[in-house]
């Protein structure tokens, strides 16, 4: 097989997005908040519409900021409903994101005559078009696909975020009360994570579409969670699974001539299935009696 630039660009972008989503998603599942990715990805719609209305651009920093703010607002509403109003956590999530999404839909229809925006271009990207949308400078140098650059910036920011906040994210995910008693601002850490999730989902939607983003937020971290016993290996394995998902998913789509995002999301599901089978088999083989541990006397 000869080197195919288009395939390389698509797989690379897919991998970068898988890394961004997977690292943040790992902390989401450890906080029992996996579905918040779903919620945020819908709740950002009004922010995108308003940002578009004021800035007039369909992509760019305004959209990211609008989405980020709405993501954080959604988190605050969910927090308020579950902690102060004492609604169940999943009910709070369900109420919040459908409501915000509905407002987004209304905004789109109200502004429909004035702006060129619909649900499709907000929620569904197409990874196959990545190599076609290039950044070209004034003197005609081609800087590569625009979406790839967006994904590069995103992954760098996510890596910096997780790198600097690792200790804080780990402790608040494990024992929020203890974190609070030693003076960590647990609500700030939580909001910063939600802000990063909002930014990452919006930044990635355009490139690969909603379903793949949501799959990458949850499925690779869940797979790695089953296979590892420590946080760092879990994060590293999430990255590896993200890469393999992108690689195998692309070629699966190539051979069946189908949707690339669909194929990648399906492959991530298959990885989870393999992990479940592996863990189940391992449990069965390790059920044989073991020697009495000597430490029992202590």
């Amino acid at each position: 097989m000869t080197f195919d630039v288009n395939a390389f660009l698509i797989i690379l972008t897919g991998t970068l997005i898988a890394i961004s989503c997977g690292l943040l998603g790992s902390f989401l599942i450890l906080r029992n908040m996996a579905m918040i990715g779903d919620a945020i990805s819908h709740a950002v719609l009004p922010g995108i519409v308003l940002a578009f209305f004021f800035s007039g651009q369909r992509e760019g920093i305004a959209i990211i900021i609008g989405a980020g703010l709405l993501g954080i607002l959604a988190t605050i509403i969910i927090d308020y409903l579950s902690n102060k109003v004492k609604l169940q956590n999943d009910a709070s999530i369900g109420v919040t994101f459908t409501w915000l999404f509905a407002i987004g839909i209304i905004l789109i229809t109200v502004f429909a005559g004035q702006i060129d925006l619909d649900q499709d271009c907000v929620l569904y990207g197409e990874i196959a078009y990545i190599p076609l949308d290039l950044i070209v400078t004034e003197n005609n140098t081609i800087l590569g696909p625009r979406v790839l650059w967006i994904a590069v910036i995103n992954v760098i920011l996510v890596l910096l975020y997780v790198g600097f906040m690792y200790k804080e994210l780990k402790l608040t995910s494990f024992d929020r009360q203890f974190a609070q008693t030693i003076g960590f601002s647990t609500s700030f850490i939580n909001l910063s994570l939600m802000g990063m999730v909002s930014y990452t989902t919006v930044s990635s939607f355009e490139a690969v579409g909603a379903i793949l983003v949501l799959a990458l937020l949850v499925v690779p971290p869940a797979t790695a969670y089953l296979l590892t016993k420590k946080l760092k290996p879990m994060l590293l394995l999430t990255i590896l699974i993200g890469f393999l998902t992108s690689l195998i998913g692309y070629y699966l789509a190539y051979f069946i001539d189908g949707s690339i995002a669909g194929a990648m999301a399906s492959v991530s599901g298959l990885f989870l299935l393999v992990a479940i089978v592996y863990v189940t088999l391992q449990k069965r083989t390790s059920r044989k009696p073991i020697a009495m541990p000597t430490e029992l006397k202590a």
Binding site: K167, K229, K230
Partner: protein, 262 residues
């Protein structure tokens, strides 16, 4: 029967706490001397856990104030350690025993800094003190309840605090772990640290604690164990339930009833 002390390490003044509209603690007012090993006892729903959560700033206070070392909580956080109930966290979390104990050093590191060699050495030392050094790399879900509790105690030791609040550290642990923890706490108070423990077993309370705080939504008693552990005060704290229990125990003794035989 509330004994107030001069120069207390902990002062709880007129504390009232409620969940929504339901008050859980009424006008709690007591002081604790330095170096005491204090037990908070009372029936279920008496607000024992709520009391230490309120002291740790985890619950909103409706009225009153709390001073530790004559200062507000935020000024002295580094000197205070809190051991939550074991069930309050998810033990399936991907971390080893050593990882968890190292969390006890986080408050000294500040933002962005990761634990280094010194913190790891301290954490290992604390694991050793609770007899868990063999399990340093064991994933926490693979530990027994008693071992998990030891890990929590080790994390508290790693905080190198002056005053420790422990929520039901003896719940669901075996007798050897319980004895080990009690010995450790006695060593700590001998070194001048102060330890406050939420405890549910009245029978072992006099053996373990030199100071008893009796709670049943309001403060029934607070003072040296020998002064407050009287039948009248126990009855006031637990209501009629206690005498019922001792009646049953008496009956069992008299009849020589053995549930294993019959």
């Amino acid at each position: 029967m509330i004994t107030q002390v001069q120069k207390p390490v902990l002062e709880v003044h007129d504390l009232t706490v409620s969940y929504g509209r339901n008050p859980v603690l009424w006008n709690i007012d007591f002081t604790l001397p330095k170096g005491s090993l204090a037990g908070i006892i009372g029936p279920n729903g008496a607000g024992k856990s709520s009391l230490i959560k309120a002291i740790m700033g985890l619950l909103e206070i409706n009225n009153g104030y709390i001073k530790v070392f004559d200062q507000g909580l935020n000024e002295v956080r580094k000197k205070i350690s809190y051991v939550p109930q074991r069930e309050s966290v998810d033990w399936d979390f991907p971390a080893s025993a050593l990882d968890i104990v190292q969390m006890g050093t986080y408050h000294k590191l500040g933002l962005f800094r990761r634990p280094g060699k010194a913190e790891k050495a301290l954490a290992l030392d604390c694991l050793k003190k609770v007899g868990m050094e063999k399990y340093r790399d064991r994933q926490i879900s693979e530990l027994s309840g008693g071992q998990q509790q030891r890990v929590f105690i080790a994390r508290a030791l790693a905080q190198q605090a002056e005053i420790y609040f422990m929520d039901e550290p003896f719940a669901g642990v075996d007798i050897s772990t319980e004895n080990m923890i009690v010995d450790l706490l006695k060593d700590m108070t001998a070194e001048g640290k102060t330890v406050i423990v939420v405890h549910h077993d009245i029978h072992s309370a006099p053996k373990y604690f030199d100071w008893i705080i009796m709670l049943n939504m309001y403060l029934v008693a607070s003072g040296p164990t020998e002064k407050v552990l009287t039948e009248a005060l126990l009855e006031k704290t637990f209501g009629g339930k206690l005498s019922l229990l001792s009646d049953a125990a008496q009956l069992i003794k008299e009849k020589g009833f053995n549930p294993l035989k019959s």
